[in-house]
């Protein structure tokens, strides 16, 4: 890649959300903002190799995008009340100070993650408007046709406009619920990357996990006081740190207990641990931790153990107990049981797992856990049946390879 191409890629990553956000504020229309931003970047790709990269690429792009947007509005003669004549005057003043623009990006995130939009639509819209991913990339991420993804995003933009979903940071009363909605979107994107499903898909989609982390870092920078934002970032970092150790050279899933801990990314682990320590200090000062902070703390117990035998399982179980008080879901009970197996033995864990059958029988992790516990208890035939069900329910290629080998080793 040439220096200019590299510069364009970097500027795209750093400036896309700023350009879209500032145009959305100015023109009050996500569609115009998105299209003009895309055109401005296309112009940069055309011109920068010959003209050189401008001294302030962000300002250049915002100005160019503003011109493109005004050209489009003039072309379509959309001079209604919302687009005051004054706004249609080319305005080449330098962009606003950083603080105000950062606030614009926050508004952009909140409008994309609005609760009046379907969850998958929120994720797609966030990846497009804030992340700057292209439509083919987003369609690929969610394993749908590009045309279907295009329609979904078009519908979402039309609803935002028709129903007048506001472009602003929510009121203080709504803020915690709305931030939690944004974090759910980012965690959805991360998980789709981490546990990618589909026969023709890479088992771990690094592009999606990296994008989710990048966007969570952005929110962390914009909302530094929010404990759950820090918690989610720590959780993602500690999971991402284990990414390369999690799939073997032959493409098989490697469970936590069998991973080469030396292959974990030490820098990501250290950053994750710093965030967890920050939240532990806040908890000690009386701030009750939310679910992402507790999940991050559980991951930190694992990443602190140099060997699997060093894992402080009683700490893990205690953290799951804390999590269950916040969120008494069967999936959390299942994860708690996995830790209980290490602390109190597989028989105790199996009894707890079997109590979840009614709700979780169709969930692959339930069958995986049962299969493993039955294997450890020497109940080969039942274990095999559970592995069969697990393989049937799993969409991840690396996990299917691992489970198949485990089943076939039962003898």
């Amino acid at each position: 890649m040439s220096d200019v191409e590299e510069a364009i890629t970097r500027v795209h990553r750093e400036q896309w959300a700023r350009v879209v956000a500032s145009l959305t504020r100015r023109f009050g229309d996500l569609d115009i903002a998105e299209e003009a931003a895309a055109e401005a970047f296309a112009t940069a790709i055309e011109r920068w190799p010959a003209d050189g990269v401008p001294a302030n690429p962000g300002a250049w792009l915002t100005t160019t995008a503003n011109h493109k947007a005004i050209d489009r509005i003039r072309r379509e003669n959309k001079r209604d009340d919302k687009h005051k004549e004054a706004q249609l005057v080319y305005d080449d003043d330098p962009p606003e100070p950083l603080g105000a623009i950062d606030d614009e990006r926050l508004r952009l995130i909140f409008i994309c993650c609005h609760p009046a939009l379907a969850m998958e639509t929120r994720a797609a819209l966030t990846l497009r408007m804030v992340g700057g991913l292209t439509m083919p990339e987003i369609a690929h991420a969610f394993l749908v046709q590009e045309s279907a993804m295009g329609r979904r995003i078009t519908r979402a933009k039309a609803k935002i406009k028709a129903a007048r979903i506001p472009y602003r940071v929510p009121s203080a009363a709504d803020l915690p619920a709305r931030v939690s909605g944004v974090l759910a979107v980012l965690f959805l994107v991360f998980n789709e990357g981490y546990l990618a499903t589909g026969p023709d898909t890479d088992p771990v989609r690094h592009d999606l996990t990296a994008e989710a982390i990048r966007l969570t870092r952005l929110i962390r920078a914009l909302l530094p006081e929010d404990g759950e934002v820090a918690g989610l970032l720590a959780l993602m970092l500690l999971i991402e740190a284990r990414r390369t150790a999690r799939v073997s050279a032959s493409g098989e899933l490697v469970p936590l207990a069998e991973q080469d801990r030396g292959a974990w990314d030490a820098a990501l682990v250290a950053e994750g641990h710093r965030l967890v320590r920050e939240r532990l200090a806040a908890a000690a000062a009386g701030v009750a931790p939310g679910r992402y902070q507790i999940l991050a703390a559980i991951n930190a117990v694992h990443t602190s153990a140099r060997a699997v035998g060093d894992t402080d399982w009683s700490q893990v179980v205690a953290l799951y107990d804390q999590l269950i008080r916040l969120d008494p879901s069967p999936i959390i009970a299942l994860n708690r049981a996995i830790a209980v197996a290490e602390l109190d033995g597989p028989d105790v864990a199996l009894a707890a797992v079997d109590r979840l059958e009614d709700t979780l029988a169709g969930y692959h992790a339930y069958q995986v856990t049962r299969a493993d516990l039955l294997r450890r208890l020497g109940r080969g035939q039942e274990s095999r049946a559970a592995y069969d069900k697990a393989i049937e329910l799993t969409g991840n290629t690396a996990e299917i390879a691992y489970l198949t080998r485990r089943r076939d080793e039962l003898g």
């Binding site: 009046a116 129903a163 007048r164 506001p166 709504d174």
Partner: protein
Amino acid sequence: MQYLVSVIDDTTGPATPDEDAAIDVFNDRLKAEGHWVFAGGLGLPSAATVIDNRGEEAMFTDGPFLESKEYLAGFWIIEAPDLDVALTLAAEGSKACNRKIEVRPFN
């Protein structure tokens, strides 16, 4: 901006006295805060008649235009600056009338 706030009912039937009282309180608030445009409760769908006068003569058909388990039981038309305000009001309306609610913008 105006929004149609539809009350969706299934088999619950007419509002109870408690629900009526809560709706009155909510309506007073809408009026006091300048959100009120109009509101009304509707008769059961079985009282509906569909008219089609696009052809030679008007056709009258007994019953609602759409047979479904859920039906429109009543509605508010509210004035709100944006969807966030409309949704907050609709959430209170749902609590007051004790039913599901749909919010839809006027064009």
